[in-house]
């Protein structure tokens, strides 16, 4: 069973590394969006530090949206998605592997570039560690939620914008809890409770989302 998981992840990573723009573009986009804010509203360090959590999380959401399209779309077009659905393994398990690979390719790079953004937005070390932790727990939830949206819209011709309309409202709690945690850290308060909440949401998403994704794919690919 874990071999199957590993095989799917392996295939995804191999394919993605052959066409590297798929990995780099969302991160690139993420950095550019964050850079726009100081340019748009001024460079006062106090102001930047105040808005940093929101800016980074909204940018992360947008970057995630940009990358979702490739989660199932290419597979849908070339037929590998229907082949995946005909494998003698649980579809929920197979899509979990795909979502995990997607997170490795889009969520993880954002974590890697986050120190750079902390410097750009004048964050102190305590705030940054909160940012890092929320990104670490929050981006997998985004990937799982987004995958439901993609699975629902992958068969549609104009699925892209619909995906954002469906997915963004549902990701509001992640945005709220993450930015609250970072805010708390900035004021020197404990944010463990908020992290625990995010963690609970992650656990919930990991257990429930794969089934929703599988069911959605069965609708979209028919």
């Amino acid at each position: 069973m874990f071999n199957v998981f590993f095989q799917v992840v392996n295939k995804e990573l191999k394919g993605a590394f052959r066409s590297q723009s798929d990995i780099l573009n969302p991160v690139w986009f993420f950095i550019i969006v964050v850079t726009l804010f100081p340019l748009g509203i001024g460079t006062d360090p106090a102001l930047l530090a105040r808005i940093a959590p929101g800016v980074i999380w909204v940018a992360a959401l947008l970057a995630a949206l940009l990358s979702f399209e490739r989660l199932f779309k290419d597979d849908f077009i070339d037929g590998s998605l229907e082949q995946l659905m005909l494998m003698p393994h649980s579809l929920a398990w197979l899509v979990s592997a795909k979502v995990f690979a997607h997170w490795l390719l889009t969520g993880l790079p954002i974590l890697f570039v986050s120190p750079l953004l902390a410097i750009f937005l004048a964050m102190d070390i305590n705030t940054y560690s909160a940012l890092f932790l929320t990104l670490l727990i929050g981006t997998p939830i985004l990937s799982l939620l987004g995958a439901i949206g993609v699975a629902l819209t992958v068969g549609l011709r104009k699925g892209g914008i619909l995906l954002s309309l469906i997915m963004l409202p549902l990701s509001i709690p992640i945005l709220i809890f993450s930015t609250l945690a970072i805010d708390a850290a900035a004021y020197g308060q404990s944010y463990l409770g908020l992290l625990a909440l995010l963690g609970a949401m992650l656990v919930g998403a990991i257990t429930l989302a794969p089934f929703a994704i599988a069911a959605s794919l069965r609708v979209s690919v028919s």
Binding site: Q7, K11, G79, S80, E82, H89
Partner: protein, 211 residues
């Protein structure tokens, strides 16, 4: 073995076919024919469980396929219009993935299979660089690889030359003789013995708009 029971297919409020009944036993090669747009592909997608019938049932060994997908898919190989081959991966990597995830003949050598489908020398080329016919061959190579009883092949001969078709026909016959089932559509005339080949003809529903 494979039993379709009162299958009805409605696509966007249009009835493609209704109350379709047939049973396919091991050792049969079945060709589904009919004009374009009559629902051959839709029928195949119902049979493999990609779509859910408007009414009726597809049963495999007596149980509905929708109730026991994993068992059914142990026995099923489906090749559709889309090849299911990842263009960023090489022919070898593509096949390797399917070999690991699907029940396969034990100890089969991928290099040999690739040579058999005429891709010797292209094994480690990214499939995006191959021609349409060659990409098709990568997908068809799965026929030699897998250990499934039921093959459902939607237009397997697309972009395949005459000699290739001959080889495939031979393979179908062998598969049927070993107790397998081949279900296919094609616009070409098959040169398979009439005794081995069964035909199902789908007809356009004209007068009868109603379910």
């Amino acid at each position: 073995m494979l039993h379709c029971e009162k299958l009805t297919c409605v696509r966007e409020d249009r009835i493609l076919f209704k109350d379709l009944d047939f049973t396919i036993k091991p050792g049969e090669i079945v060709q589904v024919e009919g004009p374009n747009g009559v629902g051959k592909t839709s029928l195949f997608r119902l049979i493999v469980g990609l779509s859910i019938p408007y009414a009726g049932n597809v049963n495999w060994q007596g149980t509905s396929i929708l109730n026991d997908r994993e068992n059914y898919y142990q026995n099923l190989l489906y090749l559709g219009h889309k090849t299911g081959i990842k263009p960023e991966l090489t022919a070898f990597e593509n096949l390797q993935f399917f070999q690991k995830l699907q029940p396969s003949h034990p100890g089969i050598d991928l290099w040999q299979v690739l040579a058999k489908v005429g891709l010797a020398g292209y094994e480690d080329v990214v499939t995006a660089q191959l021609s349409a016919g060659q990409q098709r061959r990568v997908a068809l190579a799965r026929l030699w690889l897998n250990d499934c009883l039921l093959w459902v092949l939607d237009e397997p001969f697309t972009a395949i030359d005459k000699s290739g078709v001959k080889v495939l026909e031979q393979l179908f016959i062998e598969h049927a003789q070993q107790g397998g089932i081949v279900l296919l559509t094609t616009h070409q005339d098959l040169s398979i013995d009439k005794q081995l080949l069964t035909k199902i003809t789908l007809q356009k529903i004209e007068d009868d708009f109603y379910v």
